[in-house]
Symmetry: D2
Subunit: 158 residues, 4 copies
């Protein structure tokens, strides 16, 4: 499994997402509930989340769909529907449930929050997608899910 | 079913929640996506949501648990665990899934958002609970769910 | 939307799934709860489920992924992981939540049941996938979801 | 937490459910996938599931509602609606999501399956409820959830 984790991290990086980017979102969500929370704590929590098989499967699947859409490899009309990332498409918000569900209700509510406020790298991915430069329809929601799960993990360990 | 809807609205009112309170949250979530959204549109959408059997069941169950806890009718330690509304309790955020699930992913993400920002009546219920004046551990999340579902319903009808 | 529904039905057919195949599963799930349930009632319920935007999006996305995997268009290792349809992959059972969630808890429990017993066309798709003749990793679960949702819809209308 | 686990096990026992009863269901779900699965392995897995805070909260909440209904402590009409355990009530199948979600998609599909086939103690609780001797509207679904989660846990550890 450790090699699959390495692949997931490499693929995230290729799509413009570093562990540290996600850790910064976790910090923003959680610092006020801790006496002394460091960015290293958040990096550690994100790294633990990405080690889970369900999370690796979700990351690799999401990136594979986004890239296939970018290269117009899928049939129409679904290729265009995914590329346009319409708010009524909805499947991109379902896939991350495979991540947030396993981290309990704090992960689940933070996921909905991040999907609206789009902190940091989430907003950046969303903007690149809206400008049609790349397709991140699935990846931005996966990043929301990893960040909210890492936040929930910290809350439970406190 | 219409009489069960009437009972649900009456029970919400007895616990301090008016349809209009929920409609105001819906308006705050949705006005920016519409040319001309009125509070009446929001009241209408909330009223439609509360007509559904799953929603009525969730409302009546949530209020029944909150009231039983207020009167210390449940066994310990669960009576105190619910009364304290600890962020790790988690069951209060699961029950509303019976509502938001049926209104799709926009309902689901807005639910997480409202659970954090606690607009209007949601914050008021939360505060009353925290001050131990009443128990609204379940009801505040149900109100989040009705508001986010009514918002999703408007988004889908647009 | 009606043309998208037509496309979804056409794509299902190309992948070997007829409305009638799904209706037969619905009948098997529901006939014992009705005095007189006909296969036409079941066809009608399936047809209504497939008219929903969330369902159309899920059908088209699932088939697009299966076909991309069949043609080895996705990166490794995820192409092989999906092709092998390992019971620990898990994403194929998450995607159908976008369908069953909107039809309530009867849809949700029937989905889990069908995923195990694999009636009719579900077992056929599963077998074709296991023999590596085609990839139906996502589609077999989508068919479970449509059948269980159509069954739930009948139960609620009774 | 260990004392809360002890309380959860004691409460289950008072309501007629032994760890071994749940372990027998786990065995029935999983023995065919293992070379040599013992009932002790299943007891161990059930015990691990019941150690989780989310599971303890769900167990204690479910039993508290069932007992309150048995004693007619809740308002009408919800007291009767829960007592009758109507298939359209639906909230009793939502609460266990707090358990099955954290154990992934195998837990989730097995939950739906058990809810239909009602092996062992699940069927016994259901029968007692239907005969109006006791109220187990929530508990039978919680037992389904613990068994399916313990089964998923074994599948993941294999």
């Amino acid at each position: 499994m450790s090699s699959l984790k390495t692949i997931a991290i490499k693929r995230l990086k290729e799509r413009g997402v570093e562990i540290k980017d996600i850790a910064e979102i976790v910090y923003k969500l959680q610092y006020k509930y801790f006496d002394k929370l460091t960015i290293e704590d958040c990096i550690d929590s994100v790294s633990n989340v990405i080690a889970k098989r369900e999370v690796i499967n979700a990351v690799l699947t999401a990136i594979a769909i986004d890239e296939a859409v970018e290269k117009n490899l899928l049939d129409e009309p679904i290729n265009s529907i995914i590329k346009n990332d319409d708010s009524l498409y909805g499947i991109d918000e379902i896939l991350p449930l495979s991540i947030v569900n396993i981290y309990g209700s704090i992960a689940f509510t933070n996921f909905g929050y991040l999907d609206k406020v789009k902190y940091g790298i989430i907003g950046k991915l969303d903007k690149l997608g809206k400008e049609k430069k790349q397709c991140h329809t699935f990846l931005d929601d996966i990043v929301c899910a990893i960040a909210s799960s890492a936040a929930s993990r910290l809350a439970h360990k406190k």
